[in-house]
Symmetry: C2
């Protein structure tokens, strides 16, 4: 969590968010009006936040970065539609792509693509069209919302698409609950990833390496993933 996020929550009269994220900042909530909202209720939550912000300072809490699959866009849209001139600040955070990456080593390092496999707001055909182009870029691809009870086969389909453009030894990382309780990280390859899909759930982030990504041998520890930036083509080390 950034210093600015901490400061903004500490200075707010009301804090509104999904219960999971409110629990993670429980120590900052003493003495504040706290409004717990549930998943799927994002539009109601944004409306409530704008309504409360007419008279008080309100913090809307998202996990990761609120501008990446978070609450920023819907709050700004609802505010715009309301016609109210209420000042608003989007406080950036550490998004799951780089939080997960840091637990694997340095799988992103340079250019990369972020794609969500959730088809709640984007049609599945459009997601697959984007995935196809992303894998053709041969840069690392980060999958958000890789798997849920209602979408058991999307991740397998994405891995099959990747395998058409990348060799089977391409590293794949699964990170569950990055920087949260119950954190787990695992490294496999595109050739073997399908066997381990059962380990992935909606709290996981999946990183599929690109051209040049390779397994990183940490001394003693489990394996990681590294995507060299290309210094090795110019320097000896």
């Amino acid at each position: 969590m950034t210093g600015r996020a901490r400061e903004v929550i500490a200075g707010a009269d009301c804090v509104i968010g999904n219960g999971t994220y409110l629990d993670q900042v429980a120590s900052l909530l003493t003495g504040k009006e706290v409004i717990r909202s549930s998943m799927g209720k994002e539009v109601d939550r944004a409306r409530k936040a704008v309504e409360l912000a007419c008279s008080r300072s309100v913090a809307v809490v998202s996990g990761g970065d609120p501008g990446v699959y978070g609450m920023a866009s819907i709050v700004l849209e609802v505010l715009e539609h309301s016609g109210l001139a209420i000042p608003v600040e989007v406080v950036p955070g550490v998004t799951a792509a780089t939080a997960a990456a840091s637990r694997l080593g340095s799988p992103l390092s340079g250019d990369f693509v972020v794609i969500s496999l959730s088809d709640l707001l984007t049609p599945r055909e459009e997601i697959e069209r984007r995935l196809e182009l992303a894998f053709r870029m041969k840069v690392p691809v980060v999958l958000y919302n890789p798997r849920s009870r209602g979408r058991k086969d999307h991740l397998a389909a994405a891995l099959s698409l990747a395998a058409r453009h990348l060799p089977p030894e391409t590293p794949v990382g699964f990170v569950k609950n990055a920087y949260r309780e119950g954190e787990q990280a695992a490294v496999t390859t595109l050739g073997s990833a399908r066997e381990r899909i059962g380990e992935v759930d909606m709290h996981a982030t999946v990183i599929i390496g690109g051209h040049g990504s390779r397994i990183w041998k940490r001394g003693g520890d489990a394996d990681g993933i590294i995507t060299p930036r290309g210094y090795e083509t110019k320097y000896l080390y």
Copy 2:
């Protein structure tokens, strides 16, 4: 800056980094051995960090997130080649993509692509091949290192490529020194962006919107950019 980054720097015996980033954490450096290294000396810096880490705890400082065009990969590579079993942690941060996005409103919101225009370590033809596929995805594209003294025309070329796949009213945001001294943000469109290329330098991040991205009218303030997540297709607000 995250709490964890602050903690790690505070706990280190030596701190090594580019002078620009060391100056930003000057208040944390009292009593520590500080090694200022210059741009272009990343391999030497990584070697020095590994050498010092044999006997002391060392923090290598990057701007943004060290795993995105930062020092993480080269430090891990040098450490691996050294064969030394020194424990290492990559501390994630707020990368320029989301820092810049937050200053513009919510231009990313969902899927996006990150590409650097620097051809120091990636050939220009490869960068343009990636850009072409990225713009065909029609999701927002974030350009790092958009322009420097030695690369005055790369940004113009990238904007021309974008214009082949996206309409001229597509919003484009320039953010200079996001969350740092001298911060500036400006919003234009793909049709007019070329006229304003002179405002962009190596401290800027450029965000080119995707299908669905639009200008966001903030009450009173300058314009911003919003990429709706798609709630508007399912809800009334």
